[in-house]
Amino acid sequence: MLVVQRAKGELRTAVLRILWAADAPLTAKQIRSSFDESDAVPAITTLLTVLDRLGASGLVQRGPSPSGEAVFAASAPESQFTADAMISALLNADDSSAALMRFAGELDEGHLEILRTALNVRPAAKSK
C-alpha cells in the first residue's frame, strides 16, 4: 500500500524560487525571512546546508557582502530555463542513462526483436 507523506525536496525548490525573485544577493537570514510564515520556516543551519548543496551543484553562487556576512544568488536567472528545454536536454543526453531511468526509454531494434521472438509477434509495418 502506498503511504503519502510530506515531500522533503520542497525546501530546495523554495530557496531557488526566493533567490530568483530577489533583486540582489541575499543572506541566509534574509532568505529565511522570505519564507511564508504559514509554512514551516526552516532552521538557519538547515538552510545553510541546502545552500551548500545548491552551491555544489552550480545552481547558487556564494559571495561576501560589505558587512562580511555570506550572501547567496542564483547562478542564472529563471527566465533562462524552460521546462521543455530542460526535458529535451535530459532526454537527449546519451551519457545520463546510468543516472536517469526513463519510463518511456526507448529500446533498440535488437531488444525489440528479443521481445517479438519471445512473444511470437511479427514486426510492426512501417508507415510510409
Partner: protein, 284 residues
C-alpha cells in the same frame, strides 16, 4: 599452482561463456530477474576469481625461498613470481582505467541532477512522498516519468502524463520508477556501462550492458504489475506507447499480459480482465 590455474580458468570460461549462454533464448524475457542475477553473478565471480588468482600468486611468490634449491626445478616458482608481478602491473592499469572511465559517468550524473533541480524549481506544482521516495510533478507538455538514482533519489512525473493516465495507471508508472530506485538499477547500469567503457572490444562487456538495459525495464514492469495489477500496468504502457509512438512499450504491455496468462486460474482471470480493459496493438 592448481588453485591458481583453476581460478584463472574459471574467470576466462565465465567471461567467454556468459554472453553465449545469457544473451540467447526467450527465457530471459520471461525471467528477467534471474537473467540479470546470472549476469551479475558471472561478472562479479569472474572479477573475484581474477583477484583471487592474483592474491594466490602473490602469496606463493612471497613463500618462495630463493636461497633453497627446489626439487622440481626453477620453472614453477619463476612463473608464479612473474605472474604476480605482471598481475600487479595489470591491476594498477585497470584501476587507472576505471578511474578515468568513471569520471564521465559521474559528470553525466551531476549534470542530470542539476537539470532536474532546475526543472523542479521552475515547473514543479506538487511534491509528495510515496513509500519513502519523493515524487515531483512538473508542468511539461511531454508525457514522461523518470527516476534519478543516488543520494538524492527521486521520481519526476510530468503534468501531461498525469492528465493522460488514470490514477491507477499513474500509480503503476510510479511503482515502475520506484522499482528502479529500490532495486538499485542505476548501480547495475553504471556497472555495466563502466565495464563496457573499460573493455569496449570485448563481446561479454557489450552484451552485459545491452542486456542490463532491457532486463531492468522488464524487472520494473513486473514490480509495477505485482503492486498495481497487470491491467493498470499494461494499460499505462499501452497508453504511453501510443502517445510516444513507441512499439517497445506495446510489446512490454503484451509481455505483462502474456506472463499473467501463464498463471493458472487466477492468472487467466487477470488476463481476461486485462484483455477486456486494454487496446493492445499486438500483431500475432
Amino acid at each position: 599452482m592448481v588453485v591458481l590455474l583453476s581460478l584463472l580458468g574459471y574467470a576466462v570460461v565465465a567471461a567467454l561463456a556468459s554472453p553465449l549462454l545469457l544473451s540467447r533464448g526467450a527465457w530471459r524475457v520471461r525471467y528477467p530477474r534471474l537473467a540479470l542475477g546470472l549476469w551479475l553473478a558471472a561478472f562479479l565471480s569472474s572479477l573475484l576469481a581474477l583477484l583471487g588468482s592474483l592474491s594466490w600468486s602473490i602469496g606463493l611468490a612471497m613463500g618462495t625461498d630463493s636461497t633453497r634449491s627446489v626439487p622440481n626445478g626453477w620453472l614453477g616458482p619463476t612463473v608464479i613470481v612473474v605472474f604476480a608481478w605482471v598481475g600487479l602491473a595489470v591491476l594498477g592499469g585497470v584501476i587507472a582505467l576505471v578511474a578515468s572511465r568513471i569520471e564521465p559517468i559521474d559528470a553525466a550524473k551531476r549534470r542530470a541532477n542539476q537539470q532536474l533541480m532546475l526543472l523542479e524549481a521552475t515547473s514543479s506544482y506538487r511534491q509528495v512522498m510515496v513509500s519513502g521516495i519523493q515524487v515531483n510533478y512538473v508542468e511539461c507538455a511531454a508525457p514522461l516519468a523518470m527516476s534519478f538514482a543516488g543520494d538524492d533519489r527521486r521520481i519526476v512525473v510530468t503534468s501531461q502524463l498525469e492528465a493522460e493516465l488514470t490514477p491507477g495507471q499513474l500509480r503503476s508508472v510510479i511503482e515502475h520508477e520506484r522499482a528502479h530506485l529500490t532495486h538499485h538499477h542505476g548501480l547495475v547500469a553504471s556497472l555495466s556501462q563502466l565495464n563496457h567503457a573499460c573493455l569496449p572490444a570485448f563481446l561479454g562487456a557489450r552484451e552485459f550492458e545491452r542486456s542490463a538495459h532491457l532486463l531492468v525495464e522488464l524487472i520494473a514492469d513486473d514490480c509495477a504489475s505485482r503492486s498495481c495489477g497487470v491491467v493498470d500496468s499494461a494499460n499505462a504502457l499501452v497508453k504511453v506507447g501510443q502517445l510516444r509512438g513507441s512499439e517497445s512499450m506495446e510489446l512490454r504491455a503484451a509481455r505483462l499480459v502474456d506472463n499473467a496468462g501463464r498463471l493458472p486460474a487466477r492468472g487467466i482471470r487477470r488476463i481476461r480482465s486485462a484483455a477486456s480493459a486494454t487496446q493492445f496493438l499486438v500483431r500475432r
